[in-house]
Symmetry: C2
């Protein structure tokens, strides 16, 4: 078989996993598909209500017996089936397995009259890096099709223990190292709010399915923006925890074993309370007893409470920047930052300019790390099937770079460490000047609102945070608006890339595209940073209250 045959067969198998009764006919010409679920007639009004709920509400109703897992699971399976037909977002779809698992959980509840764990009966969608015994993890590589997993990833094991139900594994870009979601197996995944926009990547399938509410909490991974970009492009909350907070063991990955910058797992969801539900549920399972890279650090309520008490008196102190000095964001993103800053100030918080510290150095360093094996890992996987590389690939993995050697790597490690420490010093110095703690800073995630296809060019706003390994929480802010976000006239480019990116801004084409910011705290500050993000979302009116 040619690689095309193998890919076509896999695609056909995914399509066949959708039962006929969940199939929709030919769609209209609307760019947005957000209203299809309500109009399709495939979901009952109860199922629409379930899929429009919060995860916190659902687990409460599942735990009290008000809802059955089979009903919740069926609702999400149906909506996910619509999502795949409309957005092309699934690499594995297995409603039968999911419903069987849900039935078992309902039986458990029936017998014990209590939930099995904090996620009892809740469907969770997974990026196609997570292994589930018996299923394929192609991760967008044709060469990996047909290899069936012999065990679960550790996070899958723990989510299962907590009561989660699995029903779908979502699409990724070939290699994972691109922030749009395209592969040679199923092609491109698109944004539910507008098919002409990217859903982001590499956890793009998660962004699309959760944005469409075919999923309530999705799990992605992030080594250079791959959780944050899809969250931002789909008006969702997202958490890139610091390395060592969430388990990654037994997952598939690109450049597996590369540890200079770690990929991390985290949730993509509709609110901070849902995010907290996910994180606390995983931590309750003591992941550090399964995955040596996880730090034995349970949820620290006392850290969250520090922020809560600052909200009650004194307020938060936050830094912000709207340009990293490399690429100036488009007008909607600048307005997004300004909206967050002015909203916070209006509510009595202190918001001060934050000077990005050598982000040009950081971006160069991390791009070198991504390419430190000269692309050997990725290109040998492509060669194994003969499939070609997807477009824009060279943005992150440049095969013309040579593999670096051991002593060069050690020098990179020292540069990374020194950079991290210097940035920490900047933070301390600013705090000393102010005479108070700076709780986090507010920054862009990408230079663009949900980007038009094939126009994602600059990863630096996200990837610098990966190099620092700081905690980042995505907060959705607003939508691009052609009436407010004019193209800059006579813009003087900082450099060629900046000029190209700015040139591509088109108020008409971006109109309505989601705009988000990231809230960045120091390493392993998930509790505080999530609490800050919650408050910002609340002030913006984009957050449910707990």
């Amino acid at each position: 078989m040619t690689w095309e045959d193998i890919a076509a067969d896999k695609k056909a198998r995914i399509d066949k996993s959708i039962p006929d009764e969940w199939r929709i006919g030919v769609q209209g010409q609307d760019d947005s598909v957000m209203d299809v679920p309500a109009k399709s007639g495939i979901l009952s009004s109860e199922e629409i209500d379930i899929t429009n709920s919060s995860a916190v509400d659902l687990v409460a109703k599942l735990a009290s017996g008000q809802l059955k897992s089979v009903d919740v699971t069926l609702a999400f399976c149906k909506r996910a089936a619509l999502a795949h037909q409309l957005l092309n977002c699934a690499l594995e779809f297995f409603p039968e397995l999911a419903l069987a698992q849900a039935k078992e959980l309902d039986a458990y509840y029936e017998k014990n009259q209590k939930p099995i764990g904090p996620l009892h009966g809740l469907p969770i969608s997974l990026k196609d890096q997570f292994r589930i015994k018996g299923l394929e993890t192609s991760m967008g590589y044709v060469a990996w099709i047909g290899k069936y997993d012999e065990e679960d990833s550790i996070l899958v094991t723990l989510l299962r223990k907590a009561g989660a139900v699995f029903y779908v594994k979502t699409s990724v870009p070939q290699s994972l190292m691109v922030c749009e979601t395209v592969n040679n197996i199923i092609g491109r995944t698109v944004n539910p709010r507008n098919k002409n926009w990217s859903c982001g990547g590499s956890s793009g399938g998660e962004g699309a399915i959760v944005g469409f509410r075919g999923g309530i909490i999705g799990v992605g991974t992030d080594i250079g923006g791959s959780i944050r970009v899809p969250s931002a492009f789909n008006f969702l909350y997202g958490l890139r925890p610091s390395h060592g907070r969430m388990p990654y063991a037994k997952m598939a990955n690109s450049m597996e074993g590369q540890e200079t910058v770690h990929s991390v797992c985290g949730p993509i969801c509709h609110s901070i309370p849902d995010m907290k539900l996910f994180v606390t549920s995983v931590l309750k399972e003591e992941p550090w007893k399964y995955d040596s890279k996880v730090i034995p650090m349970p949820w620290r309520q006392s850290e969250e409470d520090i922020i809560t008490s600052k909200l009650k008196s004194g307020g938060l102190t936050l830094g912000f920047y709207d340009c990293d000095g490399n690429v100036t964001p488009h007008p909607p993103i600048l307005r997004g930052i300004e909206t967050v800053v002015s909203t916070l100030k209006k509510h009595g918080h202190t918001v001060i300019p934050w000077k990005p510290y050598k982000h040009d150095f950081a971006v160069n360093l991390i791009n070198g790390i991504y390419a430190s094996d000269g692309g050997t890992d990725v290109f040998s996987t492509l060669a194994a099937s003969g499939e070609p590389a997807i477009p824009n690939f060279k943005d992150l993995i440049n095969p013309s770079l040579p593999k670096i050697d051991m002593n060069e790597l050690w020098s990179v490690h020292l540069q990374k460490w020194a950079y991290q420490n210097s940035y920490l010093e900047q933070w301390r110095l600013r705090e000393a000047e102010l005479g108070r703690e700076i709780d986090a800073f507010i920054a862009p995630i990408t230079p663009t609102a949900a980007v038009r296809h094939n126009q994602f060019k600059y990863y630096g706003y996200a990837s610098t945070i990966n190099l620092l390994d700081w905690t980042s929480v995505v907060v959705p802010v607003t939508f691009a608006d052609k009436a407010l976000d004019m193209k800059k006239e006579g813009y003087e480019a900082l450099n060629e890339l900046d000029g190209t990116v700015q040139e591509e801004y088109d108020p008409e084409a971006y109109h309505g595209a989601p705009v988000a910011v990231q809230i960045v705290g120091r390493r392993l500050t998930e509790e505080r940073t999530m609490a800050i993000a919650h408050e910002i979302g609340r002030l913006l009116g984009n957050e449910i209250t707990p």
Copy 2:
């Protein structure tokens, strides 16, 4: 100048740093020098008392004004001067700077009537990897002599903030990758209890000086036993914390930037209360705000309290092994393990056999990691001055091994991670069988009691724990005894190395040599593991009570 000239000049400068009034004449022929301080007449009886105290007592008296830092510092400077003359343990000795620092602290106390921090006025000795502004850090390399440090290491900065006084930087083996302390600058450092025994290494100067009470708390580093071996050989407590607990930024190191197995800092001291004083004092300074590799994890009293409450009811559950399957320990070490096990059982604790999990694999893997650059880093540093390699060097850094490439390194990372996770699984399975938590395990540190010179051959008992990155606390147990520890007749060797090691056991030569065990907890379990070590030391009668 030849390398010999440069080394001789440095050695002469160290010698010259000792004032005439602290010089001792020709010594007798005794193997042990432990009684010299009391007999020398150089220290007053008050100074003998000070240097024989615990650090906990000293900081209490310094904090209450009962002692002045100048007096405490002078006492330790004098005793350290004796130590260097007798044991050859210092690479930098700077009593004048120390006394000036002590005077400032006394003035601070006088003015504010309170200590500057929890270590106010306490002298701390440092391995010659720590940088102090204005001093040299040769680290045993001739090529590095004459380079004066422009800033302090982060741990020095934080200890200084906590009130510590610095007066000596102690000797190390050239390259640090050997567990005896020999370099081409000052030669060999010996054991204060018997000059024919090694003081251990690579933090051997710390072991010797603290063992001799020329230091009260010394700071070493450990990448394959370098804190634990000198602690064991000098009847001291030692902590190899997990990576990320103590700051390492801005220190000198061998193979700097190698991050597959991290070297870590930790204290070598006379008791667990002194160890806790050191660790809590450092953590109070929030090292994670200075060094990005440090985890934001303050001292967790609640973790210590879990052990305390087990001691009050139910007792501890501990595993133990006396052989890792690679090299059988000498009879004194086997008796040391047996002593700990039987003592614990007698006091109602549960002690069960622990099956070492693939330690042969672990030892091979970590040895490959030490040599992953084919010795480039170390040998180029030797070449820079022309000095030859010290003996036994090839045990850990084998220059005949080729440098590995990036994809091979990634494969090593995956093997390490899988090994760590499998060992965690073994731990979970044993706990499931038992139906209770296993708090830690007891294991040898080396196959020998304080080893005779040039006979240190096997690092595996220590280095396997480095590969796992588990917390290890050294507890001194007993002394080799020719009447109890007979040579095994007709021993059948497990392999060639095992045969050689066992053959070298000589009851007469080892008589009186310190015997220790390590207490090993999972990653980042310093509070619990120290509390367990404290109880074991207490039951053995080797531990002061707090």
